[in-house]
């Protein structure tokens, strides 16, 4: 963290003096050339954070700095047009009365009009939309509109770009492909970017690092694998896919869990809640010695692998395995942990949370 391009320190935003803060003491740095994601459910304050960075909202506390220059802070508010920060909106916000080329040239003020048009054309070529210059934006497909928006944002060569739910208006098929293209484009330009999303898969695959946010605060910041495999809180564990929660009695590096004695990722004592991803459990035939016995209650075959639902002491757990062995519902199996369990520091008391698999996250659009 030597010389971050963007530095957000203790950012707080309230919309009225008596209301609770929408964003509360949020801090993170973005390195040069890094793609940083803010992931969270709707209403968690992620878009407000982005709008504070862009300068559309005045911060109530804390600061925002770009390349060491203070943009927002006590008594400081640089207006959005002087921040050199580009933004791509969820609905793209293309100017409907201008052609595609005029849209892209909109942010270019230096040089002659001919120069500006040349640069806008280059930006369009870059996103693969050469030849679309004279179209009206509303006559383009969703994916094309998104690329025009990206070209428009990149054309003035901002220091940082912000993307607000950039892929959520695309249909599922297009989404993955576009995501890959945009990531490659940003990486090839060495562009630093902050994007917000409520889609965990998008955050995990698009970002170099991500922050998981809820209720106006950041729960955890880290590389995607880090946050996925070593969630710090119950919320992070649940939000990044399904997991098994085990109410356990810890004694040092091991804990007594409903699935037997399991190693822990860090030392703990007393009643703790630990998380075990379904792919970190395996099933074995019961003739193997020892282990915790469970009954298979259901399975869903997904081709390359299988997810089993097993029942143990009245709770259901998920086990994600390869398909070398097939078990039928009703079979007795032994559940074997493959990795140490992750101790969660929960904001809620562990006793309130039952052991078992977490529910399917609710679809959000």
């Amino acid at each position: 963290m030597s010389n971050p391009i963007l530095s957000v320190q203790d950012l707080t935003k309230r919309f009225s003096p008596d209301a609770p803060p929408v964003v509360h003491d949020v801090s993170f740095d973005v390195e040069d050339g890094e793609i940083f994601a803010i992931l969270g459910p709707s209403g968690c304050g992620k878009t407000t954070t982005l709008r504070c960075i862009a300068g559309f909202e005045r911060v109530s506390g804390g600061s925002v700095s770009l390349r060491g220059e203070r943009l927002s802070g006590p008594g400081v508010h640089v207006s959005p047009e002087r921040r050199k920060i580009g933004i791509v909106f969820q609905n793209y916000a293309l100017f409907p009365h201008l052609t595609v080329l005029d849209n892209v040239a909109f942010g270019l003020n230096e040089g002659t009009v001919a120069d500006q048009r040349d640069r806008a054309r280059e930006a369009l070529e870059m996103v693969g939309l050469g030849g679309f210059e004279d179209r009206q934006p509303q006559h383009l497909s969703g994916g094309q509109q998104q690329r025009v928006a990206l070209a428009r944002t990149l054309a003035p060569a901002p220091d940082l770009i912000l993307l607000d739910e950039p892929f959520s208006n695309l249909d599922a098929l297009l989404r993955q492909e576009t995501r890959q293209e945009v990531r490659e484009l940003l990486k090839s330009k060495g562009m630093s970017a902050v994007f917000v999303t409520h889609n965990q898969e998008e955050a995990l695959s698009f970002a170099d690092r991500l922050a998981v946010m809820r209720g106006g605060q950041i729960d955890q910041i880290g590389a995607p694998e880090d946050v996925y495999y070593r969630p710090r809180t119950l919320f992070v564990a649940q939000f990044l896919g399904r997991t098994n929660l085990l109410l356990s009695q810890a004694a040092g590096s091991e804990a007594d869990t409903p699935l037997g004695t399991v190693g822990l990722n860090r030392d703990a004592k007393g009643t703790v809640l630990v998380s075990m991803r379904p792919e970190h459990l395996a099933l074995e035939a019961p003739d193997a010695s020892g282990g915790t016995r469970a009954t298979v209650v259901g399975r869903s075959f997904k081709g390359h692998d299988i997810t089993y639902r097993v029942c143990c002491h009245g709770n259901e757990y998920l086990v994600h395995t390869d398909n070398r062995h097939l078990y039928e519902p009703g079979d007795t199996v032994v559940v074997r942990p493959l990795e140490p369990a992750v101790v969660l520091e929960s904001r809620s008391t562990p006793a309130e949370v039952p052991s078992g698999a977490t529910p399917e996250p609710e679809p959000e659009e």
Partner: protein
């Protein structure tokens, strides 16, 4: 909010300060001035002027006429709205148009038509030898106002009928209610908000009306004000009358707000509403046609026919081309600047309401309706008293008339700008800001081009409304200024029906354009709405 934040808010919203200052300065200050002038009189004199039987009679007449017109318009509008929305009557679209067209006949033109039809020298007597007593007084005012204002209620009711959830009626029917019971117990209660909205417009119209009551010589507050002004100008008494009229208007606004509270019905289910099943009328459809055509005959064909008949008379005497030209030019040169001014005042107000909707911005938005709700005669009187007392150089100038038009019709300009602003979402301006434009630069380069059409529609509304405006013009026009409306009214007032006809016809033509703009806007609005879903 800290002081710094409050300062930022004010700095960010500076643009509304202009229309707020203009409206407060243009409407509230003259009204306050009028109040102060009246209070400066001897308390004894004031008491004698206000507390007497004449006041009670004026109040009774004004309220009586308002209630009568509300009943009359309901009798016309409810069946017509129902016929055009909830039945399968062939030709419904034409009937809908017939329900809107009366907007092209201002009240004083309608009164003129009724006066020129009845009586010993009326059209009926001259063509059919049929002598019916000349309409005047309460009956005459009631008929003229009901026929010319019922479209306000009709349009509101139509929208309400179309928005009703058919499932509610079907449930009631399934629970064993007859069609008539369903209409009375389920449909009518749901129409209450529409009744209140349309009824308020009509009540304001009746209270502010001057042309009809003066032609029909019916003694209301407005008529008494006119008599005071025209004959024995007693400034104090005129001010008292204007203030009483204002209080009555205020009372009606409060009453409406009371009644409307908690009355906003919504469909509880989500998803798109089904359109209602349409009743088949069977042989009753002839009754439906008879009613609709009867209403159209009285409200559109009668005035048009009457004016046409008297035109022949006028043509025989030689068309007053010069007079017509002068009047048209005077009307235009007052209405055109008023249209531009009203649209420019409406733009920041609508912008604030659309972009920063909150309780205080809604309060600011209401100021646009201040000039509209103030009865025009009282407003004009306040402007006269104020300009004579405080800014004598403005008295009887075109500028003052333009200002009065703009403040009175600003409410009509807000709507189209507002809907245009919804087509220009705030993200567009933010995108322009992040691409290096200043706040004003972003507005001018992105939002303004998108609301230009809306501004033009606003200007068209205000222009056409001002062209047919009578009471403000009557009191505020500079000496020798003769608009179309003034000529129509003054000839009709002297029963010179032939001379009035060319001016009345021109007014009807201008008003028909107004209806055209209205219908066009409704259609494009619907298309935009259906394109979004």
């Amino acid at each position: 909010m800290t002081i710094a934040e409050a300062l930022h808010t004010i700095r960010d919203r500076w643009y509304v300060a202009i229309p707020v200052a203009v409206v407060v300065g243009g409407v509230l200050i003259p009204l306050a001035y009028l109040l102060l002038r009246a209070l400066r009189a001897e308390p004894g004199t004031l008491w004698d002027l206000v507390v007497r039987w004449r006041t009670v009679r004026l109040l009774g007449n004004t309220v009586g006429l308002t209630v009568g017109v509300l009943v009359g318009t309901s009798l016309l509008a409810v069946p017509l709205a129902w016929l055009t929305t909830r039945t399968a009557l062939p030709g419904r679209q034409v009937l809908t148009l017939l329900g809107v067209l009366p907007l092209a006949v201002p009240g004083y033109v309608m009164a003129y038509a009724l006066l020129a039809t009845t009586g010993e020298y009326g059209t009926l007597a001259q063509t059919l030898g049929l002598v019916v007593p000349r309409l005047s007084g309460y009956t005459g005012a009631l008929i003229a106002l009901s026929l010319s204002t019922f479209p306000y209620l009709f349009l509101n009711l139509r929208t309400a009928f179309q928005g009703l959830d058919p499932a509610l009626e079907e449930s009631a029917q399934a629970l064993g209610h007859t069609r008539w019971q369903v209409f009375v117990q389920i449909v009518l209660p749901q129409l209450r908000p529409a009744f209140l909205a349309g009824g308020l417009l009509i009540a304001l119209h009746v209270l502010g009306d001057f042309g009809v009551v003066s032609l029909m010589r019916y003694d209301t507050f407005s008529y008494a004000l006119y008599i005071q002004y025209a004959a024995s100008y007693d400034r104090i008494y005129a001010a008292c009358l204007a203030l009483m009229l204002l209080i009555l208007t205020g009372a009606i606004l409060v009453l409406e707000a009371r009644l409307l509270r908690g009355l906003l019905y919504h469909r509880t289910e989500s998803g798109a509403a089904r359109s209602a099943t349409q009743h088949r009328l069977g042989s009753w459809r002839w009754a439906g046609y008879a009613f609709a055509l009867g209403v159209a005959g009285l409200s559109v064909v009668l005035p048009a026919g009457t004016v046409g008949y008297w035109m022949a008379d006028s043509a025989a005497m030689g068309m007053p081309w010069t007079g017509l030209g002068t009047a048209l030019w005077d009307s235009v040169r007052a209405s055109a600047p008023a249209a531009v001014l009203a649209a420019l005042l409406a733009l920041p107000v609508a912008y604030l309401g659309v972009r920063h909707g909150s309780s205080w911005t809604r309060g600011v938005e209401r100021i646009a309706y201040l000039g509209y709700a103030t009865p025009p005669l009282a407003f004009a009187l306040a402007l006269i008293v104020f300009s004579l007392g405080a800014v004598p150089f403005a008295y009887q100038t075109l500028g003052l008339l333009v200002m009065a038009y703009a403040l009175h019709f600003m409410a009509e300009a807000v709507g189209p700008v507002r809907s245009a602003l919804y087509q220009a979402p705030p993200h567009l301006e933010e995108a322009a800001r992040s691409l290096g434009r200043s706040p004003l630069g972003a507005f001018l380069s992105v939002t303004f081009p998108l609301v230009r059409r809306g501004l033009l529609v606003s200007m068209a509304f205000v222009f056409l409304s001002a062209m047919k405006e009578l009471p403000l013009t009557f009191l505020l026009a500079p000496v020798g200024f003769e608009t179309l409306a003034l000529n129509t009214w003054s000839y009709a007032e002297e029963a010179m029906f032939g001379q009035a006809a060319p001016y009345a016809l021109t007014i009807m033509f201008v008003s028909a354009l107004f209806v055209g703009v209205l219908l066009l806007r409704e259609r494009t609005g619907r298309r935009a709405a259906s394109a979004q879903t």
